[in-house]
């Protein structure tokens, strides 16, 4: 009889535990294999952290659940305070190690996009700072940063910041955060899984020359989208085009946890080749992440294509000002020229189900 009671209690406990676990989502994943993107990231992170002195490490390393996780912005230094370690404060060797960590969590194309954005900010610094329309900001008190005009606003490659949240690990959750003006990269890593949402690649100038080459950090994002618009027939355009002006990102910085009602044309109303074009556009953001992570995220987007929408507002010929959005269950991408300026673009990439690795992290 006692035996039966014990079995009964254990059965009940197991049922309750299963019910709770089912609501919590997946448990921690299996460890990442040697040579995997996660393993490389762990090596790079540990190498970087080991080079830092105590003061630098205190600025670079945070607990995984620190409020630093959501401390990111597109704003330049002098307007926005980033609390991590600044590249300009590091020796060249430490700076190289920091950038090696960034490269370890991103794809080759992603790393190139990041450096193109940073180099663009250096161009901005050399040109005296970025202002779009209107007059320059008021003088005000000296800002939190140094240099630059307009009361402490500053630009340039030195003013990008890096942080590691949690302990670099092939099993437990941790995060690499890198950003500055017009860039916020947030990579959460849990075992062999990783996500890069939310992240914000932006650009001003949107086109510049470096070492004789023309650089457009977000050129493909622009051109591929206009190509898709050009591929739509009249009926498809009617569904895709919003009949109102969209002046800015809807779910930019500070808008974590929100999901807006989708609009535009649903992907099932596109032909297969048009769907592939849509996926190719999304990959410009998803593919910033290392190849392994990006493949997993793209697979989710592809699976959810029947519930994915493409919305457009503005000019339909390349060279004009246009906003667009790709929105599905696991993706929210927005592309928004700022204040009617083709030379100043903000974008955002979110996953409503998995920002900051929400699905991957066991509570």
């Amino acid at each position: 009889m006692k035996h039966f009671s014990v079995v009964a209690v254990l059965t009940v406990l197991a049922t309750l535990a299963a019910a709770v676990a089912a609501q919590r989502g997946p448990a921690a994943t299996a460890p990442a294999a040697a040579g995997s993107a996660t393993a490389k990231a762990v090596l790079a992170a540990n190498a970087f952290l080991a080079m830092l002195d105590a003061g630098e490490r205190a600025k670079a390393a945070f607990p995984f659940d620190s409020p630093q996780r959501t401390n990111w912005s597109n704003l330049p230094s002098g307007i926005y305070q980033r609390n991590s370690v600044r590249l300009g404060d590091l020796t060249p060797a430490k700076r190289d190690a920091a950038m090696a960590l960034v490269a370890a969590v991103l794809s080759a194309d992603g790393y190139r996009k990041v450096t193109d954005i940073m180099n663009g900010d250096e161009v901005l610094r050399g040109a005296g700072g970025g202002q779009t329309g209107g007059r320059a900001g008021g003088g005000g008190p000296g800002g939190r940063g140094g240099g630059g005009r307009g009361g402490g606003v500053a630009f340039g490659k030195d003013l990008y910041y890096i942080a590691v949240l949690g302990s670099p690990s092939t099993t437990t959750p941790w995060m690499v955060q890198f950003g500055g003006h017009h860039l916020a990269i947030n990579v959460t890593i849990v075992g062999r899984n990783n996500v890069i949402t939310p992240s914000l690649p932006a650009a001003q100038p949107a086109k510049y020359t470096l070492n004789g080459q023309t650089i457009r950090p977000l050129g493909k994002e622009n051109d591929k989208a206009f190509a898709l618009m050009g591929a739509l027939n009249a009926e498809q355009r009617k569904q895709a085009i919003l009949n109102y002006r969209v002046s800015d990102l809807v779910l930019g910085p500070g808008e974590d946890g929100k999901t807006i009602q989708p609009e535009g044309i649903v992907a099932t109303a596109l032909s297969e080749s048009q769907q592939n074009m849509l996926l190719d556009i999304a990959h410009e953001w998803v593919g910033i992440l290392n190849d392994e992570g990006a493949a997993a995220r793209m697979a989710e987007i592809r699976t959810n294509l029947p519930r994915t929408y493409f919305a457009w507002s503005g000019a339909t010929e390349n060279g004009g000002i246009a906003y667009y959005r790709i929105q599905g269950p696991t993706v929210l991408i927005e592309y928004a020229p700022q204040q009617g300026d083709l030379d100043h673009i903000h974008t955002i990439y979110r996953d409503p189900t998995n920002d900051y690795g929400a699905r991957l992290v066991t509570p």
């Binding site: 009671s5 009964a8 019910a19 704003l75 007059r135 008190p141 606003v153 002006r245 800015d248």
Partner: protein, 213 residues
Amino acid sequence: MKARATLTALLAYAIIPCTADAHRLDEYLQATRISIERDRVVAEINLTPGAAVADDVFAAIDGDRNEKISPIEGAAYADHVVRSLSLDIDGELHSLALDTYSIPSLADMRRGEGVIRLRATARPPAASSGRHRLSFANTHRSDISVYLINALIPTDDRIRITGQSRDMLQHEFKMDYAVSEGEGDAGLAAALPPLLGLMLAAGVYAVARRANA
């Protein structure tokens, strides 16, 4: 109501840093998110004055011109913004009441960083099953403003948004939605497994007691 709004504002001042969005210049961006429930409509508005219009906006708030916003001045401005909003459901007007707000410093506004945040709620009678139309308009500072209005996906799965439209400048927003019968409430679905577990526990305990008797 004013005392409550003032107290709420005092609590709101302690808050969280206002992470700003674009570093705007000569525009006053007003971004609204509308949440619809059967018996409640919530409008959350972020107002971001560009650096070039910050003094103008701040002057409208800073009644005594001391370059600081007192709780009374803040409450008055937030109230003024809410009175610039209109909401009707199926042609019937409903008042939006200010819930919370926060107003940044003049220095933050001048840098183009400061975001004024406010939240207002209307409480119409519970929507009947069937189709409905919500109309919302924002006319606050239309001389210098650009607007964004979006609907959040309803958390109540009895409510389904079936259409949205806006005027070109997003002053006005119309949203069609359908309300269906049923228990709804995603929370009930989430509670079901543990409830079943408890029922199973009770049943097993009863059987065990009988077996032990």
